[in-house]
């Protein structure tokens, strides 16, 4: 136990100051507070990805990105989520699961299609096995291209989605 504490102390705070032009840490927190009155809850669905985009979504959880500090939280259930992060070209075998997961999100809900595959099928294209992009199946608010998009690009996409006009007239929970 003491060893772990020592190790944590030795490393200190690893989160980095957010050096990204659109929004610093405070702006993020304020925007999410005004829109949701709490953290933004994200549900991820892999709709046939090669696992490349998942690597970067995992990387968002590295201490450098201070995800929780920003007010972002990944949820195990779509029923608690505001935003669906979808990767992959949507394999036909995942089509139904993606539809059902989307339907399980309460409204208002946002969808961010991740990666070149999520955008239009990418290298896998459209075929007997792939539908060729997330928007073929469910409405998409923001596309984050890249193979895979970096954690900062993912954050930028999530930011674009939650600061869009959609849902802005909703009363903020007290």
């Amino acid at each position: 136990m003491a060893n772990i504490l020592n190790e944590i102390l030795r490393h200190g705070v690893r989160s980095e100051p957010f050096s990204w032009p659109q929004a610093d840490l405070e702006t993020w927190q304020q925007a999410l507070w005004q829109r949701f009155g709490r953290a933004l809850v994200i549900r991820h669905v892999d709709a046939g990805s090669c696992n490349g985009c998942e690597l970067e979504i995992h990387a968002l959880n590295a201490p450098q990105y201070n995800l929780t500090g920003l007010g972002l939280h990944f949820s195990a259930s779509p029923r608690h989520a505001d935003l669906l992060l979808v990767t992959g070209p949507v394999s036909r075998h995942m089509e139904e699961a993606l539809r059902r997961t989307y339907a399980a999100l309460p409204e208002p809900r946002w969808v961010v299609a991740v990666g070149d595959c999520g955008r239009d099928g990418g290298v896998f294209g459209k075929s007997y096995a792939c539908l060729g992009g997330v928007s073929q199946v469910i409405p998409v608010d923001v596309v984050v291209a890249g193979c895979p998009p970096t954690p900062l690009q993912l954050l930028a996409g999530i930011w674009r989605a939650v600061t869009s006009a959609k849902g802005s007239t909703l009363p903020r929970p007290e």
Partner: protein, 510 residues
């Protein structure tokens, strides 16, 4: 009695021989080979036109790969099942039936494997007559899961969408209380039809796709396909390029192992361990971005070499990072070893005995943790590895602790290899100046990725077009072993056991 054409040695860096075998002789040959220690690496099929199909088997034998080719008449595309000889043939046979309609007669199982509802049971997407376009929508057939009956037995269905950020698959647990009696897995959710897609691609695009069969093994996947292509084109790549490919392969192993070790802390509730490992991984990924412009080294492997030649200062920064990583990972290893709670969860959990591993054909990282001493970098080394004298990591316990230990050993060995490759990096070009003209031929690739071996078989037609490309990720052979590893364990240990194997869904679904 058919005459047997002689063994044909395939050109290229991987020692491989192709031979034609009659359908009648296939089983006896496989039985003999098995007795002599051969292991099934892959099984697939190809459409050879009006008259026949070919069934292909790749066997790992002493000193290389034996590629068996069996001609099956188009009116009767059947062959004797081999799943009683090689356990991993079970799903390979079923996948080959789903995609091409070649039927293994006498097989233990006839359930579909890759086909859910994207195409009908009587159509086979990999046949040349199929254009790869969309089939009419189908009602999804229920998958006949194996059921267990008895007092107090109930089922827990999990997936395809999981609670965490992971790839999709369905796990059906039959349990009594918390104890798992049986796990039946259904994969194929991420089937993207990559083998059909490959047949419309030029060589450079094929390597690009090969780096996305499993995105976490992009160097291994792309390298194996590049090996196959380069062997068909009949020209070696520059020595420096071989070394740089190996350097990137070890960096890929390093970052994946760091990430897995982090999650193996997370899955036992040690979140500090997760953060410390992931801080290290993230730093290493940023180094990649700085050096080659991509955090995961995608598209570094190119036909004829690598995309970027490293400078002296690039090598220096890799060397310096290596020193830091070595020190930090040693500290974390000690931390985990001394943590009673962590060891309590790791030791004896998800055990695969060496005997079971040998019987089921478990290979790669998980195989080595169950005393299956096979690592292509040692067992069948291609150029830079032969000189580097890789030390293979093995354990005998076959539990989560053993798979963790093998990862630690391999992290340190990769760090040593990276130092070695930088130290003795040959000078010269790192990419072909020109590409030789495309031509017909067959070639193989075989690379020890971080999970285990990635195998590729490739056949080009007369104009150099892709006639058949079949990549095989080690996950195809290792997934069935997970079902055995969880038996008798408690349900909450499943995520931990699953993570300790960390097999690829996309890589096996294709």
């Amino acid at each position: 009695m058919t005459s047997m054409p002689p063994l044909q040695t395939l050109p290229g860096v991987v020692p491989a021989w192709q031979e034609t075998v009659s359908r009648e002789d296939l089983r006896s040959l496989c039985l003999t080979q098995k007795e002599q220690g051969a292991r099934l690496v892959s099984l697939w099929g190809s459409d050879e036109g009006e008259e026949n199909f070919d069934l292909h088997l790749a066997l790992a034998v002493q000193g290389g790969l034996r590629w068996l080719r069996v001609s099956l008449p188009a009116h009767d595309p059947t062959y004797p099942a081999l799943d009683d000889v090689f356990a991993n043939a079970n799903r390979l046979q079923r996948a080959t039936h789903d995609l091409l309609g070649l039927l293994a007669q006498g097989a233990a199982e006839s359930r579909p494997w890759l086909r859910h509802s994207a195409w009908p049971a009587d159509r086979f997407p990999l046949r040349k007559g199929e254009d790869g376009q969309v089939y009419p929508p189908l009602v999804r057939e229920p998958y006949p899961f194996v059921t267990v009956s008895g007092q107090g037995v109930h089922e827990i269905p999990v997936g395809p969408v999981h609670a965490g950020i992971i790839e999709p698959g369905h796990f059906r647990f039959s349990v009594v209380g918390e104890r798992v009696l049986r796990l039946d897995t259904q994969l194929g959710y991420t089937h993207k039809g990559i083998e059909k897609r490959a047949e419309s691609l030029a060589p450079a695009a094929l390597i690009h796709l090969a780096g996305r069969v499993s995105g976490d093994s992009t160097v291994a996947g792309a390298w194996a396909t590049a090996q196959a292509l380069e062997s068909i084109l009949g020209r070696q790549i520059p020595e420096r390029a071989e070394w740089l490919r190996a350097l990137w392969l070890e960096r890929e192993r390093l970052v994946n192992h760091l990430g897995d070790l982090g999650y193996l802390c997370n899955d036992v509730g040690l979140s500090a361990g997760f953060s410390l490992f992931w801080a290290l991984k993230e730093t290493a990924l940023r180094t990649h971005e700085k050096l080659v412009g991509h955090r995961y080294l995608h598209d570094q492997i190119q036909l004829g070499g690598v995309a970027r030649a490293l400078t002296v200062s690039d090598c220096q920064s890799l060397r310096e990072e290596g020193v830091t990583l070595e020190r930090e990972v040693h500290r974390l290893q000690e931390l985990l070893q001394e943590h009673a709670g962590v060891q309590d969860r790791y030791v004896s959990t998800g055990r695969v005995t060496p005997e079971l591993a040998a019987r089921l054909g478990l290979v790669g990282l998980a195989g080595r943790a169950s005393a299956q001493a096979w690592d292509l970098r040692v067992s069948c080394p291609t150029p830079p590895y032969a000189q580097a004298e890789v030390r293979m990591a093995t354990r005998t316990q076959g539990d989560v602790a053993a798979r963790v230990a093998v990862r630690f050993d391999e992290v340190f060995e990769s760090l040593r290899l990276i130092r070695h490759f930088i130290e003795y990096l040959p000078s010269g070009p790192s990419l072909w100046n020109d590409t030789p003209p495309l031509r017909a031929g067959v070639g193989v690739g075989w690379v020890e990725g971080w999970r285990g071996e990635v195998f590729v078989a490739l056949e080009l037609g007369a104009q150099g077009q892709v006639r058949r490309w079949h990549p095989e990720d080690v996950s195809m052979s290792n997934w069935p072993v997970l079902e055995h590893a969880v038996q008798g364990n408690i349900v909450p240990d499943f995520p931990l056991i699953n993570k300790s194997f960390n097999l690829s869904y996309s890589g096996q679904d294709g």
